[in-house]
């Protein structure tokens, strides 16, 4: 992968205490399955993002473990019930050890 994947995140605005909000995320990544043969006939080595985690003020909210069946440029949405202001942090972990991070400031009215 030539460029470092940039995550994109959508969180609804105007969150009120008690709301359950849907967070949507996307990240550009080929998700090479390791199940494919290249043009030279040799298997192309696996390289996927294998884990996505979301924490709020350091506490776990949601986690996804992805296998090679997850599509390229993976999309992940999840729900989250913020009860206070804080920071929603999302981390995508690559097979090669790299981590891609996004943080969103959450304000509850």
């Amino acid at each position: 992968m030539s460029t470092r994947p940039t995550p994109r995140v959508r969180v609804p605005g105007n969150i009120k205490a008690g709301d359950i909000v849907e967070v949507k995320t996307l990240i550009a990544h080929e998700m090479e399955s390791g199940q494919r043969r290249g043009s030279d006939g040799k298997p192309v080595p696996r390289r996927i993002i294998n884990r996505f985690t979301a924490t709020f003020n350091g506490k776990p909210v949601f986690e996804a473990e992805w296998h090679p069946a997850i599509s390229a440029n993976p999309y992940q949405s999840f729900f989250f019930k913020p009860t206070e202001n804080g920071e929603l942090k999302m981390v995508w972990k690559d097979d090669d050890g790299a981590e891609y991070t996004a943080t969103n400031r959450i304000t509850v009215s």
Partner: protein
């Protein structure tokens, strides 16, 4: 109004169906009576709201012949039930007399003979006349006009104007809302452009952008008519990206989204809807299943499968209306709404007999203006036909046989494959084959007639795959059109079989030998959903063949043997 023809009218007391009058007033007309516009419009109003429904017009601006199917098999729960009835069984169910106007409009046998008595059907100026008459009778504030889609595609003028001709006509007709399917074959940009500039609400609860899964179009709209709040939820054809080229709509995702329909119903009720209408392009069997599973829909206006039924069907608390295709019918549904429920209704499938209905002058002018630049091209006679040329039916139609023969001859192929589209006009024996007639059966945005090698095994896979899309016992797993048409090859099909086991006895007609799984055959076809398919447009192929033959005669096709029905 002026009737130029005698409409032989049998005395079929179309009493009927427990639910509705259907073509009742026509049926009650005495034998030998002239059929008049007044007969077609005659209707004893009920309640405070009238819904008018047209669908699957396929861009037919002027009257034409369209023969209903003689083979329309239902599988699973749909077997033997309307709309999967044809000819005598259809007439018996809906109490229609053989030889009557209703029989001509709704069944296939004796089509050639009856066409001479009853003439062409449809024409947007006639449709406009009926719509205006109902509005005048009921009051515009009580009438809602809804279009079930497949409106912008199916003719040369629509192809050349990229749907603009029909978009303009439907707007001029005062259409309140529409849904869509073939519209999407003009591509994302064009659909958005036409939808955004039109006064007709373009509804689709089941389309999402495939990046963020957000809705692309408004899912529903609330209308106030006759003092009642009517929520119209729009459902685009859920299988569009499978049945038609996905590359034309690369950013959109469709699907049935049954749960989302339920959510729309709940939201509409919460907003105070008195009546909830699903304006659907799912196809009849899908809507019948949906009606049994999703609660709270009062009316489903069905489309896609081109079924025309002269009576409303009721599934649970939901009424299903099937308004036919090609401008042949305008459905009128009067509703008596009390305490947010349908307390009573009356329904009539109004047949648009073009000789019995006076054209609306304004629409006539609009249609003429649209067609004028193409008049010479459209009326050009390419050849003539000695045979009835029709398309609709589950397997080969004679018009498809003509297209298949054209591909075999003009593309020097052993086998031809032609799509099982449900649209396209019918020509009577003795009719000229004009360029317009050819384009009415072929005018699509991906017309390339390819020529390539396929093995016997691949051909079988294709037939099996398409057969499963039409004969899967669960309608939610069905998609697309009728069975793919074949030329140069014969086969047997057991429609009750399962995926991969329906097709047998594939035979190359030229040699009478079975198709060999590993042997490659030269195949010509058109309407490939793959991008950048190479070949001349199919209308040129058909045109060249007809011009060479001068007179077309199609022998009965016995190459497809059907069992399990």
């Amino acid at each position: 109004m002026i009737s130029r023809r005698h409409f032989l009218q049998a005395t079929a007391a179309a009493h009927a169906l427990s639910l509705a009058s259907g073509l009742g007033p026509l049926g009650r007309a005495a034998a030998q009576q002239r059929l008049t516009e007044a007969d077609i419009l005659r209707f004893e109003p009920v309640g405070q709201v009238t819904i008018l429904h047209v669908t699957d017009i396929h861009a037919q601006l002027v009257p034409l012949h369209f023969r209903e199917p003689s083979v329309n098999l239902g599988v699973g729960d749909a077997k033997g039930k309307p709309p999967h009835l044809t000819d005598a069984a259809f007439r018996e169910y809906f109490r229609i007399a053989a030889g009557s106007a209703d029989a001509f409009a709704l069944t296939a046998d004796d089509f050639t003979q009856l066409a001479k008595s009853y003439g062409r059907m449809g024409g947007m100026d006639r449709v406009a006349r009926l719509v205006k008459a109902v509005r005048a009778e009921r009051g515009t504030d009580k009438v809602l006009l809804l279009d079930g889609g497949d409106t912008w595609q199916g003719s040369w003028t629509s192809l050349q104007s990229k749907g603009q001709d029909m978009a303009g006509v439907m707007e001029a007709l005062g259409t309140d809302a529409m849904v869509s399917h073939w519209e999407f074959t003009y591509g994302e940009e064009r659909v958005k452009e036409l939808a955004e500039k039109s006064k007709v609400a373009f509804l689709a609860q089941n389309i999402r952008d495939n990046e963020w899964q957000e809705p692309v179009f408004a899912p529903r709209k609330m209308f106030e008519k006759g003092g009642a709040k009517i929520a119209v939820i729009g459902q685009a054809f859920p299988r569009t990206p499978i049945a038609n080229p996905r590359w034309m709509i690369p950013k959109w995702e469709f699907g049935l989204r049954e749960d989302d329909i339920s959510k729309q119903v709940e939201e509409a009720r919460a907003e105070g809807a008195d009546v909830v209408v699903l304006l659907s392009h799912n196809g009849y069997d899908v809507d019948a299943k949906l009606a049994s599973r999703v609660k709270g829909i009062d009316v489903i206006l069905t489309a896609h499968t081109h079924d025309a039924m002269p009576g409303a069907e009721r599934i649970g608390d939901t009424l299903l209306i099937a308004s036919g295709s090609h401008g042949k019918f305008v459905s009128r549904l009067d509703l008596d709404i009390r305490a947010k429920k349908i307390a009573g209704f009356r329904y009539k499938l109004m047949p648009v007999f073009s000789d019995a209905i006076a054209p609306d002058p304004a629409m006539k002018t609009l249609v003429e203006t649209i067609r004028a630049p193409f008049a010479v091209e459209l009326s050009r006679e390419v050849g003539r036909t000695d045979s009835l040329l029709y398309r609709r039916g589950n397997f080969n139609g004679t018009f498809d046989d003509l297209i298949a023969q054209a591909m075999l001859a003009e593309r020097d192929a052993e086998i031809a494959l032609s799509p099982g589209f449900r649209w396209g006009g019918t020509l009577l024996p003795g009719d000229p084959i004009t360029f317009e007639a050819i384009s009415n059966a072929t005018a699509i945005t991906y017309p390339a007639c390819y020529r390539m090698q396929m093995t016997g095994a691949q051909l079988k896979d294709i037939l099996e795959d398409v057969a499963d899309n039409i004969f899967h016992p669960d309608p939610y797993f069905q998609g697309g059109g009728d069975m793919v048409r074949v030329g140069g090859v014969g086969y047997a099909i057991d429609v009750s079989g399962s995926m991969g086991s329906r097709i047998s006895g594939l035979t190359l007609l030229k040699t009478g030998q079975p198709l060999e799984a590993s042997k490659a055959y030269t195949v010509a076809g058109w309407a490939s959903v793959n991008e950048a398919t190479q070949g001349p447009p199919i209308w040129e192929v058909v045109q060249a063949h007809v011009a060479r033959q001068k007179t077309i005669r199609i022998e009965p096709n016995t190459a497809v043997k059907v069992t399990g029905a």
